[in-house]
Protein backbone atom coordinates (compact mmCIF):
# COMPACT_ATOMS: atom_id res chain seq x y z
CA UNK A 1 0.00 0.00 0.00
CA UNK A 2 1.21 3.47 -0.88
CA UNK A 3 0.66 6.78 0.86
CA UNK A 4 -1.50 9.52 -0.66
CA UNK A 5 0.33 12.87 -0.65
CA UNK A 6 -2.61 14.86 -1.99
CA UNK A 7 -5.71 14.53 -4.13
CA UNK A 8 -6.60 17.89 -5.63
CA UNK A 9 -9.83 18.83 -7.39
CA UNK A 10 -8.82 20.73 -10.56
CA UNK A 11 -12.27 21.16 -12.11
CA UNK A 12 -15.74 19.70 -11.55
CA UNK A 13 -15.22 15.91 -11.51
CA UNK A 14 -11.50 16.19 -12.35
CA UNK A 15 -8.86 15.26 -9.76
CA UNK A 16 -5.11 14.91 -9.57
CA UNK A 17 -3.96 12.22 -7.16
CA UNK A 18 -0.34 12.20 -6.02
CA UNK A 19 1.09 9.17 -4.28
CA UNK A 20 4.42 8.72 -2.51
CA UNK A 21 7.03 6.41 -3.98
CA UNK A 22 9.50 5.98 -6.78
CA UNK A 23 8.02 4.23 -9.81
CA UNK A 24 9.76 3.16 -13.02
CA UNK A 25 6.89 4.15 -15.33
CA UNK A 26 7.24 5.38 -18.90
CA UNK A 27 4.96 7.75 -20.84
CA UNK A 28 1.69 6.08 -21.80
CA UNK A 29 1.84 3.28 -19.24
CA UNK A 30 -0.85 2.80 -16.60
CA UNK A 31 -1.40 1.43 -13.12
CA UNK A 32 -4.30 -0.52 -11.63
CA UNK A 33 -5.56 1.61 -8.72
CA UNK A 34 -7.71 0.53 -5.80
CA UNK A 35 -8.50 2.10 -2.44
CA UNK A 36 -11.30 -0.24 -1.40
CA UNK A 37 -11.72 -3.87 -0.34
CA UNK A 38 -13.69 -6.24 -2.57
CA UNK A 39 -16.39 -3.89 -3.86
CA UNK A 40 -16.23 -2.66 -6.58
CA UNK A 41 -14.64 -5.87 -7.81
CA UNK A 42 -12.31 -4.38 -10.39
CA UNK A 43 -9.36 -2.07 -9.88
CA UNK A 44 -9.26 1.00 -12.11
CA UNK A 45 -6.70 1.36 -14.89
CA UNK A 46 -5.38 4.95 -14.81
CA UNK A 47 -2.51 6.25 -16.92
CA UNK A 48 0.51 7.90 -15.38
CA UNK A 49 0.19 11.69 -15.48
CA UNK A 50 3.42 12.78 -13.87
CA UNK A 51 6.44 11.42 -12.05
CA UNK A 52 9.03 12.87 -9.71
CA UNK A 53 11.89 11.06 -7.97
CA UNK A 54 9.62 10.28 -5.04
CA UNK A 55 6.04 10.60 -6.26
CA UNK A 56 3.63 9.57 -8.97
CA UNK A 57 0.49 11.43 -10.11
CA UNK A 58 -2.70 10.35 -11.80
CA UNK A 59 -5.21 12.68 -13.43
CA UNK A 60 -8.70 11.20 -13.54
CA UNK A 61 -12.33 12.07 -14.12
CA UNK A 62 -15.03 10.83 -11.75
CA UNK A 63 -17.02 8.44 -13.92
CA UNK A 64 -18.49 5.78 -11.64
CA UNK A 65 -18.17 4.08 -8.26
CA UNK A 66 -14.43 3.44 -8.43
CA UNK A 67 -13.33 6.92 -9.41
CA UNK A 68 -15.81 8.39 -6.90
CA UNK A 69 -14.05 6.41 -4.16
CA UNK A 70 -10.68 7.59 -5.47
CA UNK A 71 -11.90 11.20 -5.36
CA UNK A 72 -12.61 10.88 -1.62
CA UNK A 73 -8.97 10.04 -0.83
CA UNK A 74 -7.14 12.51 1.39
CA UNK A 75 -3.50 13.11 2.28
CA UNK A 76 -2.30 10.30 4.54
CA UNK A 77 -4.76 7.70 3.18
CA UNK A 78 -3.51 4.46 1.70
CA UNK A 79 -3.93 3.25 -1.86
CA UNK A 80 -2.87 0.14 -3.72
CA UNK A 81 -0.99 0.56 -7.00
CA UNK A 82 -0.11 -2.32 -9.30
CA UNK A 83 2.01 -1.55 -12.31
CA UNK A 84 3.33 0.00 -14.41
CA UNK A 85 1.55 -2.01 -17.09
CA UNK A 86 1.16 -1.71 -20.85
CA UNK A 87 3.25 -0.45 -23.74
CA UNK A 88 4.58 3.07 -23.54
CA UNK A 89 4.61 5.57 -26.39
CA UNK A 90 7.64 4.67 -28.53
CA UNK A 91 10.64 7.00 -28.52
CA UNK A 92 9.75 9.94 -30.77
CA UNK A 93 11.43 10.58 -34.09
CA UNK A 94 11.94 14.18 -35.25
CA UNK A 95 9.38 16.91 -34.66
CA UNK A 96 6.75 15.75 -32.18
CA UNK A 97 3.22 16.84 -31.31
CA UNK A 98 1.32 15.73 -28.20
CA UNK A 99 -2.45 15.94 -28.44
CA UNK A 100 -4.77 15.54 -25.47
CA UNK A 101 -8.56 15.87 -25.47
CA UNK A 102 -10.37 16.34 -22.13
CA UNK A 103 -9.22 13.79 -19.57
CA UNK A 104 -7.07 12.42 -22.40
CA UNK A 105 -4.49 15.07 -21.53
CA UNK A 106 -3.53 12.76 -18.62
CA UNK A 107 -0.75 10.69 -20.23
CA UNK A 108 0.58 13.67 -22.22
CA UNK A 109 2.24 15.48 -19.33
CA UNK A 110 4.77 12.72 -18.73
CA UNK A 111 5.39 12.68 -22.49
CA UNK A 112 5.87 16.46 -22.53
CA UNK A 113 8.37 16.23 -19.67
CA UNK A 114 10.37 13.66 -21.64
CA UNK A 115 10.22 15.46 -25.00
CA UNK A 116 10.94 19.11 -24.20
CA UNK A 117 10.83 20.19 -27.85
CA UNK A 118 7.32 18.82 -28.40
CA UNK A 119 4.37 20.99 -29.42
CA UNK A 120 1.45 20.40 -27.08
CA UNK A 121 -2.22 20.65 -28.06
CA UNK A 122 -4.84 20.49 -25.32
CA UNK A 123 -8.52 20.47 -26.20
CA UNK A 124 -11.44 20.85 -23.79
CA UNK A 125 -15.19 20.90 -24.24
CA UNK A 126 -15.45 23.33 -21.28
CA UNK A 127 -12.95 25.22 -19.15
CA UNK A 128 -9.34 24.01 -19.36
CA UNK A 129 -7.73 22.16 -16.46
CA UNK A 130 -4.27 20.84 -15.67
CA UNK A 131 -2.51 23.23 -18.08
CA UNK A 132 0.17 24.53 -15.66
CA UNK A 133 2.37 21.44 -15.82
CA UNK A 134 2.39 21.56 -19.62
CA UNK A 135 3.52 25.20 -19.59
CA UNK A 136 6.42 24.14 -17.35
CA UNK A 137 7.36 21.30 -19.66
CA UNK A 138 6.96 22.95 -23.07
CA UNK A 139 7.25 26.41 -24.64
CA UNK A 140 4.70 25.55 -27.31
CA UNK A 141 1.31 24.82 -25.74
CA UNK A 142 -1.95 25.41 -27.60
CA UNK A 143 -5.11 25.31 -25.50
CA UNK A 144 -8.61 25.29 -26.96
CA UNK A 145 -12.01 25.35 -25.24
CA UNK A 146 -14.89 24.19 -27.40
CA UNK A 147 -14.69 23.12 -31.04
CA UNK A 148 -12.09 20.54 -31.85
CA UNK A 149 -8.38 20.72 -31.16
CA UNK A 150 -7.78 18.72 -34.34
CA UNK A 151 -8.48 21.95 -36.29
CA UNK A 152 -5.37 23.50 -34.70
CA UNK A 153 -3.00 20.75 -35.79
CA UNK A 154 -1.23 20.48 -39.13
CA UNK A 155 0.02 16.88 -39.14
CA UNK A 156 2.39 17.62 -42.00
CA UNK A 157 4.54 19.71 -39.64
CA UNK A 158 5.37 16.68 -37.45
CA UNK A 159 7.18 13.37 -37.73
CA UNK A 160 5.57 11.85 -34.64
CA UNK A 161 2.19 12.56 -33.05
CA UNK A 162 0.90 11.04 -29.82
CA UNK A 163 -2.80 11.43 -29.06
CA UNK A 164 -5.21 10.52 -26.31
CA UNK A 165 -8.82 11.64 -26.00
CA UNK A 166 -12.35 10.93 -27.18
CA UNK A 167 -12.59 8.30 -29.92
CA UNK A 168 -14.05 10.87 -32.33
CA UNK A 169 -11.07 13.19 -31.76
CA UNK A 170 -8.49 10.46 -32.30
CA UNK A 171 -10.25 9.14 -35.37
CA UNK A 172 -10.57 12.59 -36.93
CA UNK A 173 -6.88 13.24 -36.24
CA UNK A 174 -6.04 9.89 -37.82
CA UNK A 175 -7.99 10.86 -40.95
CA UNK A 176 -6.27 14.23 -41.06
CA UNK A 177 -2.84 12.64 -40.66
CA UNK A 178 -3.45 10.12 -43.44
CA UNK A 179 -1.12 10.79 -46.34
CA UNK A 180 1.18 12.95 -44.22
CA UNK A 181 4.57 11.73 -43.11
CA UNK A 182 3.58 11.94 -39.44
CA UNK A 183 3.46 8.68 -37.51
CA UNK A 184 0.40 8.84 -35.24
CA UNK A 185 0.11 6.77 -32.08
CA UNK A 186 -3.09 6.76 -30.02
CA UNK A 187 -3.76 5.65 -26.47
CA UNK A 188 -6.93 3.55 -26.24
CA UNK A 189 -9.19 3.01 -23.25
CA UNK A 190 -11.27 -0.12 -22.67
CA UNK A 191 -12.80 -1.81 -19.65
CA UNK A 192 -10.17 -4.07 -18.10
CA UNK A 193 -10.49 -7.03 -15.78
CA UNK A 194 -6.94 -7.85 -14.76
CA UNK A 195 -4.77 -5.27 -16.54
CA UNK A 196 -2.05 -7.86 -17.17
CA UNK A 197 -3.24 -9.84 -20.19
CA UNK A 198 -4.96 -12.75 -18.45
CA UNK A 199 -8.69 -12.21 -18.90
CA UNK A 200 -9.15 -11.28 -22.58
CA UNK A 201 -11.73 -8.61 -21.70
CA UNK A 202 -10.15 -5.49 -23.23
CA UNK A 203 -9.73 -6.94 -26.70
CA UNK A 204 -9.37 -4.52 -29.60
CA UNK A 205 -9.24 -5.47 -33.25
CA UNK A 206 -6.12 -3.94 -34.77
CA UNK A 207 -4.87 -4.77 -38.24
CA UNK A 208 -7.44 -7.57 -38.36
CA UNK A 209 -6.30 -9.46 -35.29
CA UNK A 210 -7.26 -9.43 -31.62
CA UNK A 211 -4.95 -7.39 -29.44
CA UNK A 212 -5.14 -6.74 -25.73
CA UNK A 213 -5.37 -3.07 -24.78
CA UNK A 214 -3.69 -3.83 -21.43
CA UNK A 215 -0.54 -5.57 -22.65
CA UNK A 216 -0.32 -4.94 -26.41
CA UNK A 217 -1.52 -1.35 -25.81
CA UNK A 218 -2.84 0.97 -24.56
CA UNK A 219 -0.70 2.71 -27.19
CA UNK A 220 -1.27 1.56 -30.76
CA UNK A 221 -0.25 2.93 -34.18
CA UNK A 222 -3.43 4.73 -35.33
CA UNK A 223 -3.40 3.07 -38.74
CA UNK A 224 -3.88 -0.35 -37.07
CA UNK A 225 -6.93 0.64 -35.03
CA UNK A 226 -10.37 -0.50 -36.12
CA UNK A 227 -12.35 2.58 -35.06
CA UNK A 228 -15.69 0.84 -35.48
CA UNK A 229 -14.64 -1.51 -32.70
CA UNK A 230 -14.43 1.49 -30.37
CA UNK A 231 -17.52 3.37 -31.55
CA UNK A 232 -19.68 0.37 -30.78
CA UNK A 233 -18.98 0.59 -27.07
Amino acid sequence: MALVIHNVKLAPGIYRLTVQGSYPARMGQFFMLRCWDTYPVLSRPISVHDLTLDSISFLYRVQGTGTRLLSALQAGDRIQLEGPFGQAFPDPQGRTALVGGGIGIAPMLLAARGISSASVFLGYSGLPFGVDGFNEASHDVTVRSGGTIVDDIDPGRYDTIYACGPVAMMQSLAQKAEGSSAKLYVSIEKRMGCGIGACNSCTLTTAGTNRKVCTDGPVFPAREVNWNDLHRL
Partner: protein, 310 residues
Protein backbone atom coordinates in the same frame (compact mmCIF):
# COMPACT_ATOMS: atom_id res chain seq x y z
CA UNK B 1 2.31 -29.05 12.20
CA UNK B 2 -0.44 -28.15 9.75
CA UNK B 3 -0.22 -29.50 6.26
CA UNK B 4 -2.46 -28.51 3.41
CA UNK B 5 -1.03 -30.65 0.64
CA UNK B 6 -3.63 -32.87 -0.91
CA UNK B 7 -4.41 -35.17 -3.79
CA UNK B 8 -6.91 -34.45 -6.52
CA UNK B 9 -7.89 -37.25 -8.90
CA UNK B 10 -4.56 -38.95 -8.27
CA UNK B 11 -2.52 -35.77 -8.79
CA UNK B 12 -0.59 -34.54 -5.76
CA UNK B 13 -1.06 -30.82 -5.03
CA UNK B 14 1.11 -28.73 -2.70
CA UNK B 15 -2.09 -27.02 -1.53
CA UNK B 16 -5.77 -27.09 -2.48
CA UNK B 17 -5.75 -23.67 -4.17
CA UNK B 18 -5.96 -23.61 -7.96
CA UNK B 19 -6.26 -20.65 -10.33
CA UNK B 20 -9.51 -20.85 -12.26
CA UNK B 21 -9.83 -21.05 -16.01
CA UNK B 22 -10.30 -17.78 -17.84
CA UNK B 23 -8.88 -15.61 -15.09
CA UNK B 24 -5.26 -16.67 -15.30
CA UNK B 25 -4.35 -16.96 -18.98
CA UNK B 26 -1.73 -19.73 -19.11
CA UNK B 27 -0.06 -18.45 -15.96
CA UNK B 28 2.48 -16.16 -17.56
CA UNK B 29 0.78 -12.81 -16.75
CA UNK B 30 0.95 -13.59 -13.02
CA UNK B 31 4.41 -15.19 -13.03
CA UNK B 32 5.91 -11.68 -13.05
CA UNK B 33 4.04 -10.87 -9.82
CA UNK B 34 4.76 -13.93 -7.67
CA UNK B 35 6.13 -17.48 -7.89
CA UNK B 36 3.31 -19.64 -9.20
CA UNK B 37 4.52 -22.65 -7.19
CA UNK B 38 2.65 -21.01 -4.32
CA UNK B 39 -0.52 -22.26 -5.99
CA UNK B 40 -1.57 -25.90 -5.97
CA UNK B 41 -2.19 -25.64 -9.69
CA UNK B 42 -3.18 -23.52 -12.66
CA UNK B 43 -6.16 -24.15 -14.90
CA UNK B 44 -5.59 -22.88 -18.44
CA UNK B 45 -7.81 -20.50 -20.33
CA UNK B 46 -10.52 -22.61 -22.03
CA UNK B 47 -9.03 -24.24 -25.13
CA UNK B 48 -10.72 -25.56 -28.23
CA UNK B 49 -9.33 -27.65 -31.06
CA UNK B 50 -9.41 -24.72 -33.50
CA UNK B 51 -8.49 -21.15 -32.56
CA UNK B 52 -11.45 -18.90 -31.67
CA UNK B 53 -11.47 -15.09 -31.96
CA UNK B 54 -14.01 -14.74 -29.14
CA UNK B 55 -17.05 -12.49 -28.99
CA UNK B 56 -17.36 -8.98 -30.37
CA UNK B 57 -18.72 -6.03 -28.42
CA UNK B 58 -18.52 -5.52 -24.69
CA UNK B 59 -16.87 -8.44 -22.94
CA UNK B 60 -16.82 -7.29 -19.35
CA UNK B 61 -19.28 -5.47 -17.10
CA UNK B 62 -19.11 -4.78 -13.40
CA UNK B 63 -22.10 -5.57 -11.17
CA UNK B 64 -22.66 -5.37 -7.40
CA UNK B 65 -19.95 -7.62 -5.89
CA UNK B 66 -19.47 -9.34 -9.21
CA UNK B 67 -18.53 -9.11 -12.85
CA UNK B 68 -20.19 -10.39 -15.98
CA UNK B 69 -18.12 -11.61 -18.90
CA UNK B 70 -18.75 -12.63 -22.45
CA UNK B 71 -15.28 -13.41 -23.76
CA UNK B 72 -16.55 -16.30 -25.86
CA UNK B 73 -13.64 -18.71 -25.43
CA UNK B 74 -11.08 -16.62 -27.31
CA UNK B 75 -8.10 -18.95 -27.49
CA UNK B 76 -5.21 -19.88 -29.79
CA UNK B 77 -6.36 -23.48 -30.34
CA UNK B 78 -4.84 -26.59 -28.82
CA UNK B 79 -2.00 -27.01 -31.34
CA UNK B 80 -0.71 -23.47 -30.79
CA UNK B 81 -1.15 -23.94 -27.05
CA UNK B 82 0.96 -27.10 -27.06
CA UNK B 83 3.70 -25.47 -29.13
CA UNK B 84 3.78 -21.99 -27.62
CA UNK B 85 2.26 -22.01 -24.13
CA UNK B 86 2.60 -25.43 -22.52
CA UNK B 87 6.41 -25.43 -22.16
CA UNK B 88 6.29 -22.30 -20.03
CA UNK B 89 3.09 -23.34 -18.24
CA UNK B 90 4.78 -26.53 -17.02
CA UNK B 91 7.85 -24.65 -15.77
CA UNK B 92 6.31 -23.22 -12.59
CA UNK B 93 6.46 -26.27 -10.28
CA UNK B 94 2.70 -26.33 -9.95
CA UNK B 95 0.06 -28.68 -11.34
CA UNK B 96 -1.09 -27.94 -14.89
CA UNK B 97 -4.74 -28.46 -15.69
CA UNK B 98 -5.99 -27.83 -19.21
CA UNK B 99 -9.54 -26.59 -19.60
CA UNK B 100 -10.99 -28.21 -22.71
CA UNK B 101 -13.97 -26.68 -24.47
CA UNK B 102 -15.64 -27.45 -27.75
CA UNK B 103 -18.45 -26.59 -30.08
CA UNK B 104 -19.16 -30.11 -31.25
CA UNK B 105 -18.65 -33.62 -29.90
CA UNK B 106 -15.99 -34.25 -32.52
CA UNK B 107 -14.09 -31.13 -31.47
CA UNK B 108 -14.06 -32.22 -27.83
CA UNK B 109 -12.79 -35.69 -28.71
CA UNK B 110 -10.06 -34.57 -31.08
CA UNK B 111 -8.95 -31.94 -28.59
CA UNK B 112 -8.73 -34.52 -25.82
CA UNK B 113 -6.76 -36.88 -28.06
CA UNK B 114 -4.28 -34.18 -29.04
CA UNK B 115 -3.70 -33.16 -25.43
CA UNK B 116 -3.28 -36.76 -24.34
CA UNK B 117 -0.82 -37.70 -27.08
CA UNK B 118 1.27 -34.58 -26.53
CA UNK B 119 1.29 -35.20 -22.81
CA UNK B 120 2.33 -38.82 -23.14
CA UNK B 121 5.16 -37.83 -25.46
CA UNK B 122 6.40 -35.23 -22.96
CA UNK B 123 6.17 -37.65 -20.03
CA UNK B 124 8.00 -40.33 -22.00
CA UNK B 125 10.92 -37.96 -22.50
CA UNK B 126 10.96 -37.10 -18.81
CA UNK B 127 9.39 -33.68 -19.17
CA UNK B 128 6.52 -32.16 -17.22
CA UNK B 129 3.24 -32.50 -19.04
CA UNK B 130 -0.47 -31.83 -18.62
CA UNK B 131 -1.50 -33.21 -15.23
CA UNK B 132 -5.24 -33.17 -15.75
CA UNK B 133 -8.03 -32.14 -18.11
CA UNK B 134 -10.94 -30.02 -16.94
CA UNK B 135 -13.76 -30.68 -19.35
CA UNK B 136 -15.79 -27.53 -19.89
CA UNK B 137 -19.37 -28.41 -20.73
CA UNK B 138 -20.62 -25.24 -19.16
CA UNK B 139 -19.38 -22.16 -21.01
CA UNK B 140 -22.39 -19.85 -21.29
CA UNK B 141 -20.80 -17.63 -23.90
CA UNK B 142 -20.56 -19.55 -27.14
CA UNK B 143 -23.29 -20.15 -29.62
CA UNK B 144 -23.03 -23.81 -30.44
CA UNK B 145 -22.24 -26.51 -27.86
CA UNK B 146 -20.78 -25.10 -24.69
CA UNK B 147 -23.52 -24.50 -22.23
CA UNK B 148 -26.01 -26.54 -24.24
CA UNK B 149 -23.95 -29.61 -23.32
CA UNK B 150 -24.09 -28.68 -19.66
CA UNK B 151 -27.84 -28.27 -19.26
CA UNK B 152 -29.31 -31.57 -20.42
CA UNK B 153 -28.08 -34.74 -18.82
CA UNK B 154 -28.21 -36.83 -22.01
CA UNK B 155 -26.09 -34.39 -24.00
CA UNK B 156 -23.57 -34.05 -21.20
CA UNK B 157 -23.36 -37.82 -20.95
CA UNK B 158 -22.46 -38.11 -24.61
CA UNK B 159 -19.55 -35.67 -24.24
CA UNK B 160 -18.23 -37.06 -20.96
CA UNK B 161 -18.37 -40.63 -22.27
CA UNK B 162 -16.58 -39.74 -25.52
CA UNK B 163 -13.86 -37.65 -23.86
CA UNK B 164 -13.33 -40.28 -21.17
CA UNK B 165 -12.67 -42.79 -23.94
CA UNK B 166 -10.32 -40.36 -25.69
CA UNK B 167 -8.01 -39.65 -22.74
CA UNK B 168 -6.13 -41.51 -20.07
CA UNK B 169 -5.36 -38.24 -18.26
CA UNK B 170 -7.20 -37.55 -15.00
CA UNK B 171 -10.50 -35.93 -15.95
CA UNK B 172 -12.45 -33.28 -14.09
CA UNK B 173 -15.83 -32.25 -15.46
CA UNK B 174 -16.74 -28.59 -14.87
CA UNK B 175 -20.45 -28.30 -14.19
CA UNK B 176 -22.83 -25.50 -14.98
CA UNK B 177 -25.06 -23.99 -12.32
CA UNK B 178 -27.69 -24.03 -15.06
CA UNK B 179 -27.85 -27.85 -15.20
CA UNK B 180 -31.46 -29.03 -15.09
CA UNK B 181 -30.68 -31.55 -12.37
CA UNK B 182 -27.25 -30.88 -10.94
CA UNK B 183 -27.09 -33.88 -8.61
CA UNK B 184 -28.19 -36.20 -11.38
CA UNK B 185 -25.59 -34.73 -13.72
CA UNK B 186 -22.88 -35.18 -11.08
CA UNK B 187 -23.83 -38.83 -10.59
CA UNK B 188 -23.86 -39.36 -14.35
CA UNK B 189 -20.31 -37.93 -14.67
CA UNK B 190 -19.11 -40.24 -11.92
CA UNK B 191 -20.73 -43.24 -13.59
CA UNK B 192 -19.09 -42.31 -16.91
CA UNK B 193 -15.66 -42.38 -15.32
CA UNK B 194 -14.91 -38.76 -14.42
CA UNK B 195 -12.16 -38.54 -11.80
CA UNK B 196 -13.58 -35.40 -10.25
CA UNK B 197 -16.02 -32.52 -10.67
CA UNK B 198 -15.48 -28.79 -10.54
CA UNK B 199 -18.25 -26.28 -9.96
CA UNK B 200 -19.67 -23.80 -10.53
CA UNK B 201 -19.03 -22.12 -13.86
CA UNK B 202 -20.47 -18.60 -14.19
CA UNK B 203 -24.20 -18.04 -13.80
CA UNK B 204 -26.00 -16.86 -16.91
CA UNK B 205 -27.07 -13.28 -16.30
CA UNK B 206 -28.07 -10.05 -18.01
CA UNK B 207 -27.41 -6.32 -17.95
CA UNK B 208 -29.26 -3.65 -19.93
CA UNK B 209 -27.97 -0.28 -21.09
CA UNK B 210 -31.12 1.79 -20.52
CA UNK B 211 -29.84 4.72 -22.60
CA UNK B 212 -29.13 2.60 -25.65
CA UNK B 213 -32.23 0.48 -25.03
CA UNK B 214 -30.25 -2.68 -25.55
CA UNK B 215 -28.44 -5.42 -23.73
CA UNK B 216 -24.92 -4.50 -22.63
CA UNK B 217 -23.68 -7.68 -24.31
CA UNK B 218 -24.08 -8.46 -28.01
CA UNK B 219 -25.10 -12.00 -27.14
CA UNK B 220 -27.74 -10.68 -24.68
CA UNK B 221 -26.66 -12.87 -21.76
CA UNK B 222 -23.27 -13.23 -20.13
CA UNK B 223 -21.70 -15.14 -17.24
CA UNK B 224 -21.79 -13.72 -13.70
CA UNK B 225 -18.90 -14.44 -11.33
CA UNK B 226 -17.36 -13.04 -8.16
CA UNK B 227 -18.31 -12.74 -4.49
CA UNK B 228 -21.98 -12.22 -5.47
CA UNK B 229 -22.33 -15.88 -6.50
CA UNK B 230 -20.42 -17.47 -3.61
CA UNK B 231 -23.42 -18.52 -1.50
CA UNK B 232 -25.05 -20.17 -4.51
CA UNK B 233 -21.83 -21.97 -5.42
CA UNK B 234 -21.41 -23.15 -1.84
CA UNK B 235 -24.90 -24.63 -1.78
CA UNK B 236 -24.31 -26.43 -5.08
CA UNK B 237 -20.91 -27.80 -4.00
CA UNK B 238 -22.57 -29.06 -0.82
CA UNK B 239 -25.31 -30.81 -2.80
CA UNK B 240 -22.92 -32.36 -5.32
CA UNK B 241 -20.34 -33.46 -2.75
CA UNK B 242 -23.07 -35.43 -0.98
CA UNK B 243 -24.20 -37.03 -4.21
CA UNK B 244 -20.91 -38.51 -5.45
CA UNK B 245 -17.79 -40.14 -4.05
CA UNK B 246 -15.32 -38.59 -6.52
CA UNK B 247 -13.57 -35.38 -5.40
CA UNK B 248 -15.25 -32.01 -5.93
CA UNK B 249 -13.44 -28.74 -6.66
CA UNK B 250 -15.31 -25.69 -5.37
CA UNK B 251 -15.44 -22.55 -7.51
CA UNK B 252 -17.46 -19.35 -7.12
CA UNK B 253 -16.44 -16.03 -5.63
CA UNK B 254 -13.84 -17.45 -3.25
CA UNK B 255 -11.93 -14.42 -1.94
CA UNK B 256 -10.32 -15.38 1.38
CA UNK B 257 -9.00 -18.22 3.52
CA UNK B 258 -12.37 -18.16 5.33
CA UNK B 259 -14.14 -18.78 2.03
CA UNK B 260 -11.81 -21.70 1.29
CA UNK B 261 -12.64 -23.34 4.62
CA UNK B 262 -16.34 -22.91 3.92
CA UNK B 263 -16.02 -24.80 0.66
CA UNK B 264 -13.91 -27.55 2.26
CA UNK B 265 -16.49 -27.92 5.04
CA UNK B 266 -19.17 -28.15 2.34
CA UNK B 267 -17.27 -31.13 0.93
CA UNK B 268 -14.73 -29.74 -1.55
CA UNK B 269 -11.32 -31.38 -1.93
CA UNK B 270 -9.81 -28.31 -3.56
CA UNK B 271 -10.92 -24.86 -4.68
CA UNK B 272 -10.35 -22.54 -7.60
CA UNK B 273 -9.77 -18.81 -7.36
CA UNK B 274 -11.27 -16.88 -10.27
CA UNK B 275 -12.52 -13.33 -10.09
CA UNK B 276 -10.54 -12.75 -6.89
CA UNK B 277 -7.38 -12.79 -9.02
CA UNK B 278 -8.62 -9.48 -10.46
CA UNK B 279 -9.51 -8.06 -7.04
CA UNK B 280 -6.04 -8.95 -5.82
CA UNK B 281 -3.50 -9.70 -8.55
CA UNK B 282 -1.29 -11.33 -5.91
CA UNK B 283 -4.02 -13.49 -4.38
CA UNK B 284 -2.16 -16.72 -5.07
CA UNK B 285 0.97 -15.39 -3.38
CA UNK B 286 -0.57 -15.31 0.09
CA UNK B 287 -3.75 -17.42 0.21
CA UNK B 288 -2.02 -20.70 1.13
CA UNK B 289 -0.20 -19.04 4.04
CA UNK B 290 -3.41 -17.31 5.12
CA UNK B 291 -5.20 -20.66 5.04
CA UNK B 292 -2.57 -22.23 7.30
CA UNK B 293 -2.81 -19.29 9.72
CA UNK B 294 -6.57 -19.54 9.83
CA UNK B 295 -6.41 -23.29 10.45
CA UNK B 296 -4.02 -22.63 13.35
CA UNK B 297 -6.44 -20.11 14.82
CA UNK B 298 -9.34 -22.50 14.39
CA UNK B 299 -7.44 -25.50 15.74
CA UNK B 300 -7.76 -27.43 12.48
CA UNK B 301 -4.80 -29.75 11.89
CA UNK B 302 -5.78 -31.16 8.55
CA UNK B 303 -8.32 -30.32 5.90
CA UNK B 304 -9.36 -33.98 6.05
CA UNK B 305 -10.69 -33.32 9.56
CA UNK B 306 -13.24 -30.80 8.33
CA UNK B 307 -13.99 -31.90 4.80
CA UNK B 308 -17.70 -32.37 4.30
CA UNK B 309 -18.56 -32.02 7.97
CA UNK B 310 -21.64 -29.92 7.25
Amino acid sequence: MISIDCELAGVPLSNPILAASGTFGFGKPYADLYPLRKLGGIVSKGLTLSPRPGNIGTRLYETPSGIMNSVGLENPGIRAFLAQELPEMTSHETAVIVNLGGGTLREYVEGAELLTEASQALSASGKRAVDMIELNISCPNIKEGGLAFGIENEQAQEVVRAVRKATSLPLLVKLSPGAKDLKEMARMCEAEGADGLSLINTIQAMAIDIRKRQSVFDRAYAGLSGPAIKPIALRMVHQVARSVSIPVVGIGGISSAEDILEFIMAGATAVQIGTYNFINLRAGDTLAEELIQLMETEGIHSLDDIRGII
